[in-house]
Subunit: 331 residues, 2 copies
Amino acid sequence: MSSSPQGVVADLTEDRLLAQVLPLLAGSRTERVGPGDDAAVLDVASPLIATTDTMVLGRDWRDDWSNAEQVAAKAVVQNLADIAAMGAVPTTLLLTLVLDPQTQLAWVLDFARALGEQCRRYAVSVAGGDLSSAPAGVKMVTITALGELAGAEPVLRSGAQPGDVLAISGPLGRSAVGLALLERAASGTALDAREEAALAHHRSPSAPLSQGPIAARAGASAMLDVSDGLSRDAARIARASGCLIEIDSATLAADLNWAEGLVPRDQARACVLNGGEEHSLLATFPDRASVPEYWRILGRVEAPAAGEDPGVHLDGRPLTEAGWDHFHPVR
Amino acid sequence: MSSSPQGVVADLTEDRLLAQVLPLLAGSRTERVGPGDDAAVLDVASPLIATTDTMVLGRDWRDDWSNAEQVAAKAVVQNLADIAAMGAVPTTLLLTLVLDPQTQLAWVLDFARALGEQCRRYAVSVAGGDLSSAPAGVKMVTITALGELAGAEPVLRSGAQPGDVLAISGPLGRSAVGLALLERAASGTALDAREEAALAHHRSPSAPLSQGPIAARAGASAMLDVSDGLSRDAARIARASGCLIEIDSATLAADLNWAEGLVPRDQARACVLNGGEEHSLLATFPDRASVPEYWRILGRVEAPAAGEDPGVHLDGRPLTEAGWDHFHPVR
């Protein structure tokens, strides 16, 4: 944390606010033309990998649960994870901030400082963006991330083949358990130190970004990052590839044990199977030998039986998709 | 307009909503990988030109004044004008829609259909995007636009030189006059047919996009699109280039005459000098001979006198910057 300037965004003109924000965003790359002109001018490799993801106050975060630094970290990681999940290396961000003019100036500067830190950490630049005002109570962050392939073809969701193995880099359920603990705390039960520590990933997620290109070079046939939950995201690979994905629940034991130490058993299971915002990478590989270090096997890819739709099984039984849907949040 | 489906966004799952929206967005280019994976894969030329711009309900449009088609057209044009103002040709959009789940499904489909039409008109594709829910009453559109140079160097704001001439492609004041008429109508005075016709540019602006690359090839030394008003945008060129820009009010006579036919004289003058969302292209050229067809000369670039700050003069007197500031709207 840092100096806490007084006042709100509306105390400054747009130009003066930008003059305070832009230096904080300086990343570790220098663009040919960065923020301040009509558009940025970027030296890029073709093909370009591009994605965009938004966070909205009240939907994707609560200001009483996450501070500005945590919101910035989450916004960056969820975008960079989408780039990594193509087997690519992120290079550049564009940032849109839409703010109630009564937003505290300190929040904006803390956000920008943390975003700049994330950019330096992941070696990406902020090449441009937009700053806009919003009705009372609205706060929103949109990032567009660009990246390039690191010597391999892009890994899509649609390439899984019967006979492949399913593997994951990173754990499952951490973000969802953190959210469950925050909800418990909001209902009046204080959290102990171990529970507080378990909130870290929900508030400020990390993602195994470097494993994306590693998986691509190892021959991954399909990949995505777990943003809406294992059940929903595995089903996306299954449907896009026209396959059946069989998950062995024994491979989830470590995640389940950890979660059951913090929340009731049923909730722990739901967190591991359906918890979103995890940003672990889920991929299929042609065989066990090709699965890289730091990945663990969760199951296998099969051909659907005659007349059966593509989908996901857990221990041989259909797994219901119950992850995150923006217009129908289920917790 | 088109079929009007009943119901609201919340009646559908996110996946079903996307299944209805995505086909409507199909542009005239085919990407290597478009919407539906973690990220898009795009064949691009380097350097890449990139910009992002947001529209927020209640700030950038009112649903009782602009329909979904008009919001889509405005969102596309303001982004593409930023690409053109670099001397570049737009190729690709990424779209973020943040919607109150109670948003009418018909609005979303009309928006998507109109956005797709704009994309085909300007030969760009929608390569990806994000769909997110928002608190009640919130509706927001963010576009990131990508483009490529058409055989010239990018034209920045900072290249104007003493001795250059200032020129514009497109009129001034149309959008601001349209807004003034809408405000008059909202206060109870019905608009006549001529006034209704004058709203067209405010509701669904056009921009002389092809003139951006033409100006670049003609040797434009600085360029931007008039998004926040002539006084503010000319000052941006002046400051970035360390120059004084002298505008001759006689060159604005046609814009002033048109505006004075619709709103009181003082307001007409303010609309022409300070009106934003116009998206005409404003540029400096090394001499009169290099100014292309469809551009008209507004003035000239000079060196500031000793001790004088860079800025804009109108008929030799300092012109106050009074255009659009997101956090301090003045009308």
